[in-house]
């Protein structure tokens, strides 16, 4: 059972890292500011979401798991607002 949980954690965290790497690759490779923002907002929060998913079964204290989810939600809200904000500024240049 715990082996299964460990495998799940490992897989989810590895997948999360892949998306972080993809987001960074997009940040470096994409031609314009808005495309780079696509990479940051979409790949990074998915990566973080997968890492949070992988950490959920390992959260020790009571409240550890909801706190992890709260972190993800806050990052989601801030990236959802920051993406359009920066895209708007980049377009005005």
């Amino acid at each position: 059972m715990s082996l299964l949980v460990d495998a799940f954690s490992l897989l989810a965290i590895l997948a999360g890292l892949v998306f972080f790497a993809a987001g960074t690759a997009g940040l470096l490779r994409f031609p314009d500011a808005s495309s780079r923002l696509h990479a940051l907002t979409k790949a990074d929060h998915l990566g973080l979401g997968l890492i949070v998913l992988g950490l959920l079964p390992r959260a020790e204290a009571v409240g550890g798991a909801p706190r992890l989810i709260a972190v993800w939600l806050l990052v989601l809200v801030s990236s959802a607002a920051a993406g359009p904000l920066l895209a708007r500024l980049a377009r005005r240049r």
Partner: protein, 308 residues
Amino acid sequence: MMADGLIAAAILGVALATIASRGTFTAVALFIAYGLLLSFAWVRLGAIDIALTEAAIGAGLSGALLLGAASRVAGRGAAMDRRPGRAMTVAIALGCAGVTAALAAAILLLPDPAPSLAPQVAANIGATGLGNPVAAVLMSFRGLDTLLESAVLVLAVIAAWSLAPDDAWGGKPGPMQPVLADGPLALLARLLPPLGILVAVHVLWIGKDAPGGKFQAAAILAAMWMLPWMAGRVVPPPISARWLRVAVAAGPALFIAIGLAGWMTQGAFLAYPPGLALPLIMVVEIALTASIAIALALLVIGPPGRRA
């Protein structure tokens, strides 16, 4: 060990890039990354309280302040010194290398076992009722430092305000903000402050037993106040408002009053009566949080500026 090496290399690379960068905007962006990487270093050094403060104040509030400054001095020939000549640059580099070598030698030649006050803190922490040793040092063992520091913030606000041009004195702090009824910033200004209040109170309250406390909480509250302010959703008070001035000074004033009371009753400035230490410390913590939050926000926004 590998994590330490990677973090160290990243910090050094970002610091070098900050110093060497051409544009001020790039330099500020790199500096924010520097602050965030430093907080990783603090986690590795077992100093979670410092990591939180560095991320909130060293990277967050400083970043907002410096980005604003960079956009306002961009394209203006602000007064500049002469660039040092080649020989002078080499001399400066040699001198700085000497400073680094001396500090590095001091680190490598530290006595073993290192001198430490940790046992004394552990022996006396029970008297404060606190579980977080850093909070105990800040509020009790070295309470005078914390008191002076909160006074520094009040003085910094006074000094910054006194830089306002004569015709702007008494006006609203900071440059004029355009009112944004809609848009992403307005959305954040609606959504985030209630959640930020929850997180700040949690960070303040948990600070008595775990990493956290007034500075981290005050930095979050300051950001939550500035956000609707920048989106034009709340009207900032003019710096002539009496309640604003009272609020900035109230926390340190209460700290001094309790310190004096300790002098009267216990015979030492800032001594807490036995059994009452924890409630008194928490009252001062809460009052200081409010004062520090307002002071931090006022410092980031800056003095009133000329109306364009």
